[in-house]
Every structure is written in C-alpha cells, then in structure tokens.
C-alpha cells in the first residue's frame, strides 16, 4: 500500500517537474502560424477584409474565424497559398474576384486638398496643395481608402483596364 502511494507520488512529481521544465524551455512566443500568415499577406493594411490591418486578418484566418479568401487585393493567388499552408480545401472558382481595381482622379472635381495623399497606404497618389492630384497606376492597390476620404468625390474606383499583355484565355466549358 505504502509502496504504491510512494511510487505513484514520485511518478506524479517527476512528470510534473518534466512538464514544468518543458513549458519553460520550449515556450512559444505568439502563434508561429500567424507570423507565417502575416508574412504572406499583402501588408498594406488597407482594411478591405474588415479586420484591423493584415495582422488582424492573419490572426482571424489562423483561428479559422475568417476564410482564406477574405483578402481582395491578394486575389486567387493569395487564397490558394493560404489554403495550401493551412491544409484546407477551398473552392477557388467560387471566389468572387471582381478583378483588380484602380483609383482614378476626376480632374475636373479635384480641389487639391491633399487628404487622400495622407491616407494612401502605398503612397500611390502624387500632388500638392491646390494642385490636381494623380494616381500612380503601378503603386495603387485598389484598397479604396482614398475614395472615402475625398471631400468632393473626385476619386472613383475603376477596374484595371484589360490589356493584350495581361489577357488570359477563359476556361473551356466542361464536357
């Protein structure tokens, strides 16, 4: 009886110490998966997903509360990469890809207030006070933050025009 009590107590104490040691020695700072997902996200913190920045979205995707398809600027490529990393299957064809968007300045309405320049996450708008602003096509991510900020509705989102260089064949109808 005594031998059993002693041996079980020793076993429990030994395992408890081992667990305590392991929890200190192998402690994980934050969620490594989340860090990896943050590195994959676009990183412009545009907020189109509805989360506070790309880190927030990555946390939600890692927890499983948001689908990997929630990032519009990332598009299909990002959704596929995220799903691949998380090991989940997603239906990419169902992903509503409204295509890449681009902010365009209506020059007759722009008053040159510089407010849009301050909110653009990629510094894609050039201009100065009381000068008509312009959007650099290559730098614009189509996040739309400038559209909300503009006091005269001079900024509008347009789909990026299709060009011969970027055109791709459509998928043939299945047999």
């Amino acid at each position: 009886m005594l031998a059993a009590v002693i041996s079980l107590s020793l076993l429990g104490a030994g395992l408890g110490l081992a667990l305590g040691f392991a929890s200190r020695q192998f402690a994980v700072e934050g969620n490594p998966l989340m860090d990896e997902l943050v590195a994959m996200m676009p990183g412009s913190n545009c907020g189109q997903c509805g989360f506070p920045g790309c880190t927030g979205a990555a946390a939600a995707i890692a927890e499983g509360t948001a689908p990997p398809t929630c990032c519009p600027p990332g598009g299909k490529a990002l959704a596929a990469a995220l799903a691949d990393r998380l090991g989940i299957a997603i239906d990419l064809s169902a992903l509503e890809d409204r295509g890449p968007q681009l902010a365009v300045v209506a020059e007759e309405v722009c008053i040159g207030c510089c407010r849009c320049i301050k909110v653009c996450p990629t510094d894609a708008i050039v201009g100065a006070a009381k000068q008509i602003h312009n959007v650099l096509r290559e730098a614009c991510t189509g996040c739309g933050s400038c559209v909300e900020r503009c006091p005269t509705e001079a900024l509008v989102m347009r789909p990026v025009p299709a060009t011969l260089q970027h055109w791709v064949w459509p998928k043939p109808a299945a047999a």
Partner: protein, 496 residues
C-alpha cells in the same frame, strides 16, 4: 538522326490532310495598297514600340513610325507613303478582340520609298553592326512567334552557336506562304541565310523542308548548291515538324532540355521568311513592311498567296482577292491547328500573319465535347511526351500546380491532343487557360511583394518625417532658449 533512332523513335505528332494545293501552286500576287493602312505598335513579343511621328505628318514608305522601347522590342515602319491620319486604338488581330495602339496612314497612292542606308558589302560589317541594322529594320520572327530577330542574332554571338537551323517546314495545313517564298525567292533566302551565318558566327546552316513541298526543296537546293555551308534537308511531313524543338531533333539529333533554350545546345532556329527579311534589310536597306500572306479555305474565292503591305485590313485583303465563295462559317488567322478564330475581319495584317482562312461549315465542323474515355490517343500524339488527359483532368479541377508538375510548362500548344481526341475534348484549350492563369497568379504575387515594399517605405517615410519635425522643434527651442539666456545676460550686465 541515325537509322536506329529512326526505327525506335517514339511516334509523335499527327498527319492532318494538308490542303495546301491549289493555293500553293498559284504564283504570289502583289496586292494594290489600300486607301488606309493601320500599323499596330505591338507586332512583336516584348514592349510595344514608341511612336515618333505626329498626326498630319507626311511619311514615306519604309520610314520609321515608332522606335523600339527597351531591349526586347522592335520598331515599326510605314508600309506605304502618305499622311499619318491618326494614332490611336484599333481592334487587335488577337483572339481577345481587345484594342491595340496603331498608327493609321492615309495612303497618297505614290507608294514612294524613303532613302535607305545600303552597305556596299554587308559581309564587311561587324556582326554587332549587322545585328543593329536588322534591329533597326524591325525584323521579327516570321514563323508566327514574332520574337525580335536581332535579339536572337546577338544571343547567337554570345552563346557559341555552331548550327543554324532554317525552318522551312511549314507544317500547318492550308498555309503555303513559306513554300511560295522558297519557290520564288530562293536566291534571296540563301543570301539571307549567309548573312545570318555571318552575324551569328555559326559554321553551317541546315534548311529543313517537309517532303510534301518538292518544288521548294528543288528551288532551295539549286540556290544553295554553290554554298557548301548550307545544306537543304527534306524532313518527313508530320505536324508539328515546324516546332523548333522537333525540327532540331530531326536535323541535328540534339534534344533541347526542358528548362533550356535552343542556343544552349548550340543551335539557333530562324524561319525562311526571317532570312528573306534579313536579306532585304542588309542588302537593300529595306525594313520589314510587307509579307506573303496565304488566303485559303473553302469559302475563299481565289485561294493563293498575296504580297501584302503590313497594316492592310483583312477585309480589304479579301475584297482585293475576289471576296468569298459563299458565306464563311469561321474566319481563322494563321493555320487551323494553332491559329486563332477571328470574330470579324477589321483587323490588320501584322508581321507575324501567315494567312487568313475562310472555312466553310463542313471544314469547321463544330464539335460538342464528350467525357474522356481514357483511350490515350493524346499521349501518343503529344510531340513533347506529356500526358494531356491527366493534365486536363487536373486543370478542370483547378489543380494548376498538379498540372504544372506533369509538365504543363513544356506544352507547346500545338493542338495535336485536341485534334486526335475521339471525345473531342478541348484539351489544348485547357492548357491555354492554365498557362494564362498561372502567369496571372505569378504577376499578382509579384505585385503583392511590391505592395509590401511600398507600404514599408511609407511607414518609414512617416516615421522619418515625424522624427525630423521633432528634431527641428528641438533645435528651434534650443535657439530660443539660447537667445533668452543671452538677453538675460545682457540685462544682467546693464543692471550691473
């Protein structure tokens, strides 16, 4: 290829009915210059050319309209004399029907050439100088790939090319523009081949011509007889013999590795049309402004080959060639295997246009696809040794990386698989889609990376500005304090 390789070679390719005659037997006819020509700025692989003329300016035939923009690009030239009527968008000769930037010239009917720079002896030119002149003449690959030829010549100099392959196989059914060019202009082609040999430093040239063109083989053999370094070799008629990798194996026995180019095995491939254009550029100082175009198909009234100025609308060309015999069921640019269906004929002839086909309903039999029966016909037909049925099954399920693992990148889109498929499955169409989709995804990944960099640069900028502001404020404060201290010291001095 040796006898044993020939006997034990894996059969590949298909043997479609060639339907080249009677169009191939009619001598080429020059076409009168139309009232207007529309010359696209992007007629080549690479960056579109940059226009150097203004609307309203008078131009002569052969004058440069737009110059090359970047390393992989080519200039375009006026194909007739006249006035620049517009610089703007026109429908592109492309399956998408998207617009392309073009220079429109209202012809004055004189068709007057501008003075070209003609070297006394092109063989005295340094190879680099010859390549520069070929580039200035806007010569691009005439076999349909339209890769700037001068870039390939320069590559030949760097990569130690020993053999030049001249592609006269013209394996696409219906087309006969290369055949006709070889029959009528064999001496000029041979002159062009010798110039390309000079410009690349290759020792010998092998001209591969399919054995269904005996007249072209005879004409080229006669023209090349005096030049020991040029050999004319008949190759068996089999589609796609005109694909560079297949022709290289057939003529040299060398196989180009999957991730390499022809230059890596010491070979360079040029089309016979390109050799002719190089001759025109270096011997006559004439840029590439016209080409032979085949009109064929059951619904073409006068099938044959026509010498057409670049920029002439296909509709004008058909009108000049007698119009249609009946209503065409399908209009195709290029050959029936790899060509593209055109929605209308308001598109210009470009440097890479080999022909237009007006097919009757019987020729263009529309085919309803049925499920794959896994017969494996496509595997036997594939010239690249791929598994079209497996690749298409993956693409259908959006598993593009799976298809890529099966060698999608090596697919040359020849269409043999779709041609032989008894279920009429759109196999090559799946591969077109998958390749486009893969490059679109690659582009979006690149874009994402650049977005990340831009966002980081902005954060850095905002921080820097805040820091500079704080520093400036601190400096001003220190100055104010110093001034105050001085003033205090001065009042203290006065008081004392």
């Amino acid at each position: 290829m040796g006898f044993l390789e020939r006997v034990f070679a894996r059969p590949w390719g298909v043997h479609p009915e060639d339907r080249k005659r009677p169009a191939a037997d009619v001598p080429a006819v020059p076409v009168a210059v139309p009232e207007k020509v529309y010359i696209p700025l992007a007629q080549h692989v690479g960056a579109p050319a940059r226009p150097v003329v203004l609307v309203g300016q008078k131009v002569l035939k052969g004058q440069c309209l737009a110059e090359a923009a970047g390393n992989i690009s080519a200039p375009v030239h006026a194909s007739t004399s006249g006035v620049v009527a517009a610089i703007g968008e026109i429908p592109a000769p492309h399956p998408s029907g998207l617009p392309v930037q073009a220079v429109t010239i209202a012809a004055d009917g004189e068709d007057r050439w501008c003075e070209g720079e003609v070297p006394a002896d092109p063989f005295a030119l340094a190879p680099q100088e010859a390549a520069r002149r070929v580039a200035a003449a806007g010569v691009v690959g005439m076999g349909g790939a339209t890769f700037p030829s001068a870039v390939k010549l320069a590559l030949g100099l760097r990569a130690k090319i020993d053999t030049l392959i001249v592609n006269g196989s013209e394996c696409e059914p219906y087309l006969s523009c290369d055949d006709r060019l070889m029959r009528d202009r064999a001496a000029e082609i041979v002159s062009g081949i010798r110039l390309i040999l000079h410009a690349t430093g290759a020792r010998e040239a092998r001209v591969g011509i399919e054995d269904n063109k005996p007249e072209a083989i005879a004409a080229m053999g006669e023209a090349a007889a005096r030049h020991g370094e040029i050999r004319v070799l008949p190759v068996p008629a089999r589609y796609p013999m005109g694909s560079d990798r297949q022709l290289i194996v057939e003529l040299t026995g060398r196989e180009v590795p999957s991730d390499a180019r022809a230059a890596d095995v010491g070979v360079l491939v040029h089309n016979v049309g390109t050799a002719f254009a190089v001759h025109e550029a270096l011997r006559l100082g004439r840029p590439l402004v016209e080409r032979l175009v085949t009109l064929n198909g059951g619904a073409a009234a006068r099938p044959g080959n026509y010498r057409v100025p670049v920029g002439m609308l296909a509709a004008d060309l058909f009108a000049a060639a007698g119009g249609f015999a009946g209503t065409p069921a399908r209009l195709v640019m290029g050959g029936p295997m790899m060509g593209t269906v055109l929605p209308h004929l308001q598109v210009p002839v470009v440097k890479g246009t080999s022909g237009f086909l007006a097919l009757t309903a019987a020729e263009a039999a529309a085919r309803e696809p049925a499920p794959c029966i896994r017969c494996g016909s496509c595997i036997r037909a594939c010239p690249m040794g791929l598994l079209p049925l497996e690749m298409s099954a993956r693409i259908r399920a959006e598993d593009l990386s799976g298809a890529d693992g099966l060698g999608l990148r090596d697919c040359i889109a020849c269409g043999c698989c779709a041609y032989v498929c008894p279920s009429r499955s759109p196999l090559v169409q799946y591969f077109h889609y998958a390749k486009g989709e893969m490059s679109a995804r690659q582009r979006s990944t690149l874009r994402q990376e650049s977005t990340r960099k831009l966002a980081a640069a902005r954060v850095e900028r905002v921080e820097r500005e805040a820091r500079e502001k704080a520093e400036a404020a601190a400096r001003r404060k220190a100055e104010r304090d110093a001034a105050k201290a001085r003033a205090a010291a001065a009042t203290a001095g006065e008081a004392a």
